[in-house]
Amino acid sequence: MDMRYEAPKSLDQAVALLVAEKGEARVLAGGTDLLVQMRTDVVEPALLVDIKGIAELREIKDEAGGFRVGAAVTGAELKEHPKLKAMWPGVVEAANLIGSTQVQGRATMGGNLCNGSPAADSVPALIAASAKACIVGPQGRREVAVEEVMLAPRKLSLAKGELIASFLLPARPPRAGDAYLRFIPRTEMDIAVVGCGVCLTLDAKDVCTAARVSLGAVAERPLLVAAAAAALVGSTVDAAALDKLDAAARAACRPIDDKRGTKDYRIKVAGVLARRATQIALERARKA
């Protein structure tokens, strides 16, 4: 019944606490999902490891022309970082779609990913942006593409004692742009029925030379849809390319029927969002 709480000051301590705990141990970042799950007895951890006291997890640093974002940086802090927002607006916007202004004050991208929901808003945007997660554990550090972290609902590819320390957002190529859109029934406060992140790069003649398209809430995990990207590459992102993209996005979906949407609806809307997000990313790439 008694739950322990620890707030280590270093990653080593955090890992040691997670490794040593025999019962269920949970990493506490923003807590906006975890506290709700604790309240409703979905999880009953024996140990909470609050990682917000670990300096490197709370920082946004320049790295390799891009940024290293600590896993415990909040959505509100991302939004207040002008350079990050200018380079990866889709990622910052996605993270800022999670919950309310109040939730933005706490919620983190590390938590969003580790909550293990296929509908997590920031994840398709991170995947589209080719972000890597830095995972720290008893065996040391490893960098993994974000799309490889989540396996299935509530299931991650992290071993016991491992946690996500940061995300590396690479330098954005010249003439590239990213965008993330989600569909919800209201304007705010809902979980994505479908989410779509897009990043594309243009050459001097406005031909798409590279693209990444990621879909959320249409499968057991966020998807990186190569066929959708292929529909764009080599085109000027014209109507024909968008039609192919729409079809490829729909074809990649393997959703479920649930209280938030039907299979059929999710599939249709995935195509619509892929088009719309691509158009925003295209605008951004042209201006970049």
């Binding site: 923003g30 609050d50 309310s100 109040q102 004050g105 304007t187």
Partner: protein
């Protein structure tokens, strides 16, 4: 195991309290510190009635543990008026009839104050999106949005 001993600042005053790990900041404010102006509407971060600021950051106090408040500076609705003088937002909420039952009002006021500190001249759309996490079931939001815009105008003029 023993309760956590936590020291924090609430509405400018130093406070100390003891709490279990699973007690939220909202539980602590209401049940231990007697600050019942912060309301509990859902305990899942979906209604905003428990809005407070922690180190000037707007949060739902139901989504933060009491033990996480150590060393932080927390402001609740009880800290909004300056002595006998109501904050302009408080005055405008009364003037515009921006409350009916009043249960959501403290959360709206705390959230709106946080908005105006960052964005002194918000558009109607900015007000509506900033306050989207604060549910009101009585007013349809019309008079709340008007009160916030009017308070912002008055504060800019002041």
């Amino acid at each position: 195991m023993a309760k956590h001993h936590v020291a924090a600042t609430v509405n400018g005053d130093g406070v100390e309290f003891l709490c279990e790990t699973d007690e939220t900041l909202l539980d602590v404010l209401r049940n231990q510190l007697g600050l019942t102006g912060t309301k509990e509407g859902c305990s899942t971060g979906d209604c905003g009635a428990c809005s407070v600021t922690v180190d000037d950051r707007l949060v739902c106090s139901c989504l933060m543990l009491g033990v996480e408040a150590g060393g932080k500076s927390i402001t609740t609705i009880e800290g909004m008026a300056d002595g006998e003088a109501l904050h302009p937002l408080q005055k405008k909420f009364i003037e515009h009839a921006a409350l009916q039952c009043g249960i959501c009002t403290p959360g709206f006021l705390v959230a709106a104050k946080s908005l105006l500190e960052r964005t002194p001249d918000p558009t109607e759309t900015e007000v509506r999106y900033w306050l989207a996490g604060n549910l009101c079931r009585c007013t349809g939001y019309d008079k709340i949005v008007r009160a916030v815009l009017d308070a912002a105008a008055e504060m800019r003029g002041a």
